[in-house]
């Protein structure tokens, strides 16, 4: 099969890229080894967060946040997005100090979306927070979406615009022959002028096929969700320095994350949970919000996620091949970036340029000069 562009990976980055390319009239095939949204994009915590981003990511994340506000309308689909604001709680004086320093950095870069809260404001926004918490920082546009729905929304919109999705198609090989990329899967051969690597936790393997080496690692961030509770938290909640992160959905269930990692078994497509660490996340949740002591955990899971050493994604052209691009390695905060990634990748593929400075995201930023 032939297409102008072959996208490897049907996560939110791949689906959004397919959507933007197809909208521009480019013929696209997405090759997905499982099914779209099977891994990190479909099972993550759903946080749509601008707060606390690395300064290098802020311009992209800001643009993405604007897109999220009207995404359901744009795609003609339900992504489950709800704007709820996000609050990172400061538990002690050290946290307050961290927030002040951060505020200075953000202000001197001209960013004003993060707003400090004192103890009184924190308690008004989160009446059930432990009274010892001192304050926090908030971002108004933040919220959450339903990960699988959002990924599927991009996929369905992409298909309506003409993109083709081939699921269950795992890459065996990919090489550039003359002016085309030849891609082989277990069942078929594909040909395209351009390839885009959105393969998430498997992206280093795809990068190697393209000709780029990248120090990608993978891990399994763990999540747990409770049964329905009476509403006690409107905003999404995080913490400045503790492993605390949760959100209460409209149906009353509470999703608890916090960054504790299980065991990632990439070769077998599997994750295992580390229950002692999850138990510690449970303790933290109860410490900050005593009301949660009575909650019942209904499900626990983990997804396979790709990490870069500096926790920043790779976004941009390949270093060692023509007509190849990368968008992966979002290090557990890529879901919010999906919409803008799709736009940026489409711009790069079609015109070779985009509206953002991608220097911090170059694939060869870890290349070493050897003796």
């Amino acid at each position: 099969m032939n297409a102008d562009v072959l996208i490897i990976g049907g996560g939110i980055q791949g689906c959004a890229t397919a959507y933007h390319l197809a909208k521009s009239g480019v013929s696209v095939i997405v090759l997905e080894k499982d099914y779209a949204g099977r891994h990190a994009s479909g099972v993550n915590a759903g946080g749509v967060r601008l707060l606390g981003r690395d300064i290098a990511e802020v311009p992209l994340s800001k643009a993405s946040m604007q897109m999220w506000q009207g995404l359901d309308k744009t795609l003609g689909e339900d992504t489950g997005f709800r704007r709820r604001s996000l609050i990172n709680i400061a538990a002690d004086d050290a946290d307050i100090e961290t927030l002040r320093a951060r505020q200075q950095v953000m202000q001197s870069a001209g960013h004003s979306h993060e707003r400090l809260m004192d103890q009184q404001e924190l308690r008004e926004a989160l009446p059930h927070v432990h009274p010892s918490c001192l304050g926090g920082v908030t971002s108004d546009l933040d919220g959450y979406a339903i990960p699988y729905k959002a990924t599927l929304a991009f996929k369905r919109a992409a298909i309506r615009a003409g993109a083709r999705f081939m699921e269950g198609e795992e890459l065996i090989s990919m090489r550039r022959v003359g002016p085309v990329w030849l891609v082989q899967t277990r069942t078929a051969d594909y040909e395209g002028d351009t390839v885009v690597n959105c393969a998430g936790a498997w992206a280093d393997k795809v990068a190697t096929m393209i000709g780029d080496q990248v120090p990608l690692s993978h891990a399994a961030p763990m999540l747990m969700i409770t049964t329905r509770l009476p509403h006690f938290a409107g905003p999404v909640v995080g913490a400045v320095s503790r492993q605390l992160s949760f959100k209460q959905f409209a149906n009353g269930t509470v999703l608890i994350g916090g960054g504790a990692k299980g065991f990632a078994d990439r070769a077998r497509n599997e994750t295992r949970l580390d229950y002692a660490k999850l138990a510690s996340a449970a303790r933290t949740a109860i410490e900050f919000f005593p009301i949660m002591a009575g909650a019942s955990i209904n499900r626990m899971w983990a997804g396979l996620e790709a990490y870069m050493p500096d926790n920043l994604p790779v976004i941009g052209p390949a270093a060692n091949a023509d007509r190849a691009f990368h968008a992966f390695g979002y290090s557990a905060h890529g879901f919010q970036m999906g919409p803008i990634t799709g736009k940026v990748m489409a711009d790069l593929v079609i015109g070779g340029i985009c509206d953002f400075d991608l220097t911090a995201f170059r694939i060869d930023r870890f290349d070493r000069k050897t003796l």
Partner: protein, 467 residues
């Protein structure tokens, strides 16, 4: 220090295995959710609230002897232990007394028992509709019965509870038997070989005779079942030589039993679809070993074969585990298991006969009315699932992610078999090719505080805790 073997479930299979393992000196722990050993079938037989327990039948009484032998076996028994995680690394987590405990074991024997096959007729989720199994639990644990109830469905357990009700003098509004006439025809030619298990066959026939002799309304070949009532059950409507309605506050449904596979699923063990029993079986060999050699399964949780066979399969699995632990050699194992293997072989034709006779009617296994709920926890109807399927969610996990079907507290126990069946029907492929939900621990709801109190216990301290 770790245990040699941990057994999950103290029903006939688990108790029998524990007796064999302990007798051979293996350090064995049995984790059971109930306050007293016995499993579903022998629930409360040792401390029955009923004045005359013999009315529940001879088979039930036989359980008392097994429980006694088990309680004297020397195995560490953990009552009220709610196992919510088993890891393939031999880690087991369970809740007990408001805390989370962790143990380590070399070998794992899983005896989770059976559950009732969901019977999603219109109105099956209304208050007042229960399963025959829950009628049994109420009767055995609390001596509670429901006056003037309708019993509907098919299979030996349905006839047993009706007979028990009649013996206790409880008024029964009717028995609505859904066994299709065609099943009698297909089972007929299996009859002669089933005669080898005459006592069991005889037992079943006597139950039916007892019910017929009682004179309660008994309808056969019933189809198109529907619960009457909007807010709660007001009766049952069905077709059996014409449309009939029976008025009643309580309807007990039963449609056969299937293995509980949530634990074995969460362990990532291989499962196979059984076209004969119309359910998933965890894949296991003649010794009960699963696709992970140190994890074995026995009893109705492995495949439905009844309490006697469960005891045999428990002993067989235990003998094999003893060879793996280096306590007996292969010759001894084979010698020890000769009688049990012979029994299992002998009762196979009878089981085949029962499976054929009570093969679930497709119309009762898969809901046909678009408004019928499939997922009770998340209130997802057939139509909701069909919409998700039409959006591209073609496998159980994608459908779960999109519709929330199977995300509720029952962990998909109720909707899982139906979802597989519906997708197989819609896609025109086999259940085996559709597959099943990807399941995770916890096996049941876990209180956050209970979870946060996390203790790792050694074999020694666990024994002390049990005493």
């Amino acid at each position: 220090m770790a245990f040699d073997c941990a057994i999950i479930g103290a029903g006939p299979a688990g108790m029998s295995a524990a007796i064999s393992l302990s007798a051979a000196g293996a350090d064995t722990i049995v984790l059971d959710r109930a306050p007293r050993a016995g499993g579903q079938i022998y629930r409360s037989v040792a401390d029955s609230p009923l004045a005359d327990v013999s009315l529940l039948g001879e088979e039930y009484l036989q359980g008392a002897a097994l429980i006694e032998a088990y309680e004297n076996s020397g195995a560490t028994h953990m009552a009220d232990a709610d196992v919510w995680h088993i890891g393939s690394d031999g880690t087991i987590l369970f809740s007990r007394d408001g805390e989370t405990h962790q143990i380590q074991t070399r070998e794992i024997l899983i005896c989770p028992g059976a559950m009732e096959r969901p019977m999603p007729i219109p109105g099956w989720t209304l208050p007042g509709v229960m399963t025959a199994g829950s009628a049994q639990v109420m009767l055995k644990s609390d001596a509670v019965t429901a006056e003037n109830a309708v019993f509907a469905g098919s299979g030996p357990l349905l006839y047993l509870i009706v007979a028990q009700y009649l013996r206790l003098g409880v008024k029964v509004a009717g028995l609505v038997d859904t066994t299709p006439l065609a099943n009698y025809r297909s089972a007929m030619h299996l009859g002669p070989s089933a005669l080898r298990s005459w006592p069991m066959l005889h037992k079943g026939l006597s139950l039916l005779r007892e019910i017929r002799a009682s004179g309660i309304p008994f309808y056969r070949n019933a189809r198109e079942l529907r619960i009457l009532g909007d807010q709660r059950a007001e009766g049952l409507s069905f077709h059996s030589n014409g449309r009939r309605d029976i008025r009643s506050d309580t309807v007990f449904l039963h449609h056969g039993v299937i293995p509980q596979t949530n634990i074995t699923r969460a362990l990532g063990l291989d499962h196979v679809w059984s076209d004969i029993q119309k359910c998933w079986h965890v894949k296991s060999n003649a010794w009960g070993q699963s696709s992970s050699p140190h994890i074995s399964v026995a009893g109705d949780g492995a495949r439905i074969s009844g309490a006697e066979a469960a005891q045999s399969s428990g002993r067989v699995a235990a003998a094999n585990i003893l060879t793996r632990l280096g306590r007996i050699n292969l010759q001894d194992r084979d010698q020890q298991c000769r009688l049990d293997h012979a029994f299992l072989a002998k009762q196979a034709p009878f089981r085949r006969f029962i499976d054929t006779l009570y093969n679930p009617a497709p119309a009762l296994s898969l809901p046909e009315d678009p408004d019928t709920l499939v997922c009770r926890c998340e209130e997802q109807s057939v139509q909701n699932l069909r919409d998700g399927f039409d959006k591209g969610a073609a496998n159980p996990n994608a459908l779960k992610s999109l519709t929330r079907c199977g995300m509720g507290p029952c962990q998909g126990r109720q909707c899982g078999p139906i979802v597989t069946g519906l997708l197989a029907k819609w896609r025109g492929i086999s259940e085996a090719d559709v597959g099943y939900y990807r399941l995770r621990s916890p096996q049941r709801l876990l209180n956050l505080k209970e979870f946060s109190r996390f203790h790792a216990l050694s074999a020694q301290s666990d024994k002390e805790a049990a005493e």
